[in-house]
Symmetry: C2
Subunit: 271 residues, 2 copies
């Protein structure tokens, strides 16, 4: 089972920490991404690491596409170009392999989801966020994420989410749409509804285990209290993890294959 | 007693909140700055508001220089230009007024300190921060501030401060230097030493009063705990306030007059 996840956002927004938290691995540490000294923040070359992980009993071939240097410069004009090229070249590869006689065992390296990290500063989307999403929304499933959500109090978080959605609608940005499945289960229907209402997910990530009231939790320890990233009162980490890794991974792949890739294919073949 | 304070940093870093916290006023709310709708984030016109406040029994004519739109665009090349122009035109005004016959009552609107807000994301100074400070450090007292310091755990904060100072030294940036006064008092000497060691100040601002263990504090209320901005264990707010409004205000004015303005004057007159 293959899944390719792209991670985009300015340096220091907690991307590596979140990916490690999501998949309970030290992918980034192993690949040397975690060390700031090893990063070259001025490069915008996308970097991939392929990892095998077991999630819920399923062996997952996860490809992580990191996009270092995004938004790092004083002049960030078209800093999405390398990202666009990456996505298109995976589509191109797939198009070529699709037309071969023997096409059973071709890997699917197309980007199935792009986690776009929004800084918890600002009063809404920045111009760069808007420009980036407009360039990418017709090519890849964009899942906007509010990074380092522990910067917000609950009311500020609600207001910020509301403003982000307003900006997204106002600029005609199409983010990944959670389909309304026919839920047999009342519980599942409620969970799905709650999921849709939490967008954009406000996440907090952590690679460390801390103590909270005598029990060990994955979180962040502050002088004024302990964040538990798996507590739904604290952030949407669990919500994101459930939808990405459990309930919606197949749909993200289907939308990529049936809609986004088809759009590329039609454009390419009708030239 | 006049003091002119410039505030620079990207939108949403808590600048208005901090200024209101420092001077216990709603300057920004009164001036309409606080409302995001009234802001035009794409303008980089410096905006001034003059306020009379009483601090420690002294009537202070405080001029606040806000710099909306700083770093807001996709291309931020030379976004410091309007700021440079503002500082130079105040020097020019002063130079002109100094040469008049009757120069007793001329207001001193030269910028005495520039609070530069560093985002608590990233792994150190961003390129824009470095470029800005290099353009401004010979013209104005730069006091770098780590904004929204409640994003950091104590260890992360120490590491970030260390990295910022490293970047500042590496790029030859001259920030405002706290002079070593001859302290008669042991206590004052220790306080001054502690001050110098806290740079850059990691601040948290708040316009709201919240409850912490039954007492009211100015702070931020999170599901996992309450930040008290006046608690030195939580942030350097008190340290910044003391140095800016009490102990070092005169020195900031002296350095501006004796060193920074003189540099401008010599350059101007020797042309
Ligand atoms: N406040 C806060 N800090 C975080 C969070 N996630 C990571 N960090 C910290 O932010 C810093 C940068 O994280 P990193 O994952 O390296 O960011 P990246 O550059 O986007 O990959 C580290 O000091 C992390 O411990 C979070 O959810 N909240
Ligand atoms: N986490 C955190 N949030 C803050 C802090 N100061 C202000 N805020 C919040 O950040 C948002 C933007 O603040 P504002 O003062 O308008 O920022 P400005 O655009 O830089 O003037 C508001 O929701 C504030 O309540 C702080 O120290 N820490």
């Amino acid at each position: 089972f293959e899944f390719s996840l792209m991670v985009v956002g300015a340096s220091g927004l907690g991307k590596s920490t979140l990916i490690n938290s999501l998949f309970l691995t030290d992918l980034y540490v192993d690949n040397g991404y975690h060390s700031p000294n090893q990063r070259l923040p001025k490069t915008t070359t996308t970097q991939c690491s392929a990892v095998h992980i077991i999630e819920g009993g399923v062996r997952l071939q996860l490809t992580l596409v990191d996009t270092p240097g995004f938004g790092e410069l004083v002049d960030n004009t078209e800093c999405w170009d390398p990202i666009l090229k990456y996505i298109d070249s995976r589509y191109e590869e797939f198009l070529t392999s699709e037309s071969r006689v023997n096409r059973q065992n071709n890997p699917d390296l197309r980007v199935h989801a792009c986690l776009y990290f929004i800084a918890p500063n600002g009063h809404g989307l920045k111009q760069l966020d808007i420009d980036f999403m407009k360039q990418l929304h017709k090519k890849v499933n964009i899942v906007p994420i509010i990074a380092k959500a522990d910067t917000f109090s609950p009311e500020e978080c609600r207001a910020f989410k509301h403003k982000i959605l307003q900006d997204i609608n106002q600029h005609g940005i199409e983010i990944y749409n959670f389909p309304d499945y026919d839920f047999e289960d009342e519980e599942d229907a409620r969970t799905n509804k709650k999921l849709k209402e939490s967008i954009p997910f406000a996440v907090i990530g952590s690679n460390t285990v801390v103590e909270q009231n005598g029990k060990k939790v994955r979180g962040r320890s502050y002088p004024w209290g302990v964040v538990d990233i798996e507590n739904d009162e604290h952030c949407d980490f669990n919500t994101l993890r459930n939808m990405l890794v459990r309930t919606h991974m197949q749909d993200l792949k289907d939308v990529t294959n049936n809609i986004l890739y088809e759009r590329y294919r039609i454009q390419k073949l009708s030239k």
